[in-house]
């Protein structure tokens, strides 16, 4: 996956780059609007991460530029601004998703994956990881071709874990992914443990390998 990060904060763009590149993405960074214009006109990307406040202009100008050139790149706005108007305007201008800073890198990664899946012509709706396969549309999970019934939360958790395979995920990032704004209001993330435990149990029951590792007190990791 080829991703363009349009963000003037170098530390932020680098951290995104580092995380995404270790998850089989290729990232380029544009720290100004003009830089972004240039890169968009020269290359094709699968996804563009777009900060709205740039030193030489507004992120919306890039959205307009993409539209006028009939570019079909998926765009995820990453902005410090959290208000409905900006969000709606961004989505109307052709952005596909909107993430408010600060966000978890793991969350960003699964959003990118979901976006690319949606964008792909005749979307790839099947995610497979060894003996486990998930049909995104029907929400069916098969382990060794046997249907496992998972709750909505467990399915979300499974997708999140597989999407971030090989990465240590902090409990707070998992909690936030599962319950949105709700989770970051609490320090108590015990429910994450409960979900993980149930998911593991169900998968193992159907003969899957236990891929979920607990990493000290920090979080969990999906690993071969």
């Amino acid at each position: 996956m080829k991703i363009l990060i349009v963000e003037d904060e170098k530390l932020l763009s680098r951290s995104i780059q580092e995380y995404l590149e270790s998850s089989n993405c290729v990232c380029e960074i544009a720290s100004t609007k003009n830089d972004a214009f240039l890169k968009i006109s020269l290359y094709e990307y699968d996804c563009i991460l777009l900060d709205l406040s740039l030193p030489d202009g507004h992120g919306f100008e890039i959205l307009k530029e993409l539209k006028s050139k009939n570019k079909t790149e998926g765009v995820i706005i990453i902005s410090a601004k959290e208000n409905l108007e900006t969000r709606i305007e961004g989505l109307q201008l052709g952005a596909d998703d909107y993430l408010t800073k600060p966000f978890h890198l793991s969350e960003l990664l699964v959003r990118i994956q979901a976006l690319i899946r949606r964008k792909q012509f005749q979307g790839q709706n099947l995610i497979t990881f060894n003996e486990i396969s998930i049909d995104i549309l029907s929400k069916n999970v098969l382990v060794n071709s046997k249907l496992v019934s998972l709750t909505k939360k467990e399915l979300e958790l499974l997708l999140f874990l597989i999407g971030n395979q090989g990465k240590v995920l902090s409990k707070s990032s998992i909690a936030e992914h599962l319950s949105g704004d709700m989770a970051d209001m609490f320090d108590n993330h015990d429910f994450v443990y409960a979900h993980i435990k149930n998911l593991k149990k169900k998968l193992v029951e159907f003969g899957a390998v236990d891929y979920v590792k607990s990493v000290y007190g920090i979080g969990y990791k999906w690993e071969l």
């Binding site: 904060e9 951290s15 600060p102 890198l105 902090s170 709700m182 209001m185 429910f191 990493v215």
Partner: protein, 419 residues
Amino acid sequence: MRKKLLNKTLQLYAIYSILILLISCFAFYFFLKKIYVGETHEALVLKSKMFESTYQNKLKIDEIATWNKYNTNQKIVVLKSKHKTFKEIEVFDIIEKEKIPFLEYQHPILIENKLFTLQTKDNLFEKEDIIKSILMLFVFLLVFLILGLFILTQIISVKIWRPFYQTLNSIKSFEIDKMTKFEYSESKIEEFQNLNQAFENLINTNLGIYQNQREFVENAAHELQTPLAIFQNQLALLIQNKDLTVEQAGIIQKINLTVARLNRLNKNLLFLSKLEKTDFEKQEVNLSKMMQEHTVLFAEQFDAHHLIIQSNLKENVILRANQQLLESVLFNLLSNAVKHNYINGKIEIILTNTYIKVINTSLNQELVKENLYVRFQKINPSSEGNGLGLSILKKIVEINNWEIVYEYENNLHAFQLNF
């Protein structure tokens, strides 16, 4: 009790009038007396002159007794002095049975070459009578004066002070956080116009400062988002390190929690500043449904704290409010009930047509009502709260003209929202 300015003036006017009238009452008396006595002097002199010119030559010494018999006010007596003298005397009046003041004029006359004294007298007015009349007159004047002053003051208070009261009312209804302009009607009175302009300046200056302050909070919170994002991302990268020791992982976990807390604080600050400046659109909201959804959302938190939930929700309670704000209210009520609860505690949720009530068990003592909604006034220092939740709640309640009541009974904390 405080007096009205006008009554104060009226009081001063009244005291002053009474004083002036009293003084003038005495002055009037002495002045009147002086004139009267002067007139009496002249009359006596004239009478004695008349005697001299009319009777003096005709009168014989033998006839003096007869004269005296028939003239009560002009008698001829043995010579007392060769000089003309005036004397104030008192004579007992048989008819009125009281002493009456008289002025007597003695002057020497020659009758058949012998000197006698002619005593001519005339009565003076009676002091009490005249003082009574004057006092009556003045009391009459006083009553009319004060009555007039009072009526005038009332008219003044209504008419002349009207712009003042208008200004007062517009200041009373002015709320800085609503960002309303200070409005006043032009006054022809210079003082009021000055007052209004002074207020306008003061308020505009303060509005400016307030606006700045608010923008500062908002901007500061916004500016913090990016560094927070960097902080959080760097941590996410750090935990990927395969060589972390258990000890390091422990430290990172603590940092993780702190970042989460910072995030929370910042989000709340942003939300609070947004609450203060945005007009929120209202729509019909099914509160019962929203409450049910929230209890489902909170299910994980309830389970994590092993809480027993009793909910008594009336169906189809419809409220006209802003969806987002209402969600925030429910969220805050429920999250407080969870955060300040203990493991195996209880939460009771009641919804009726007129109120929502959330009752929870807690290890906390009764909360101090005065500080409840003050920003950063944390109820329990070690709790997960950041001291903004209740301020947000209060603000939303204010925006919607609702009412929030806190009660503490039988070790149970209850927040009731009346709408």
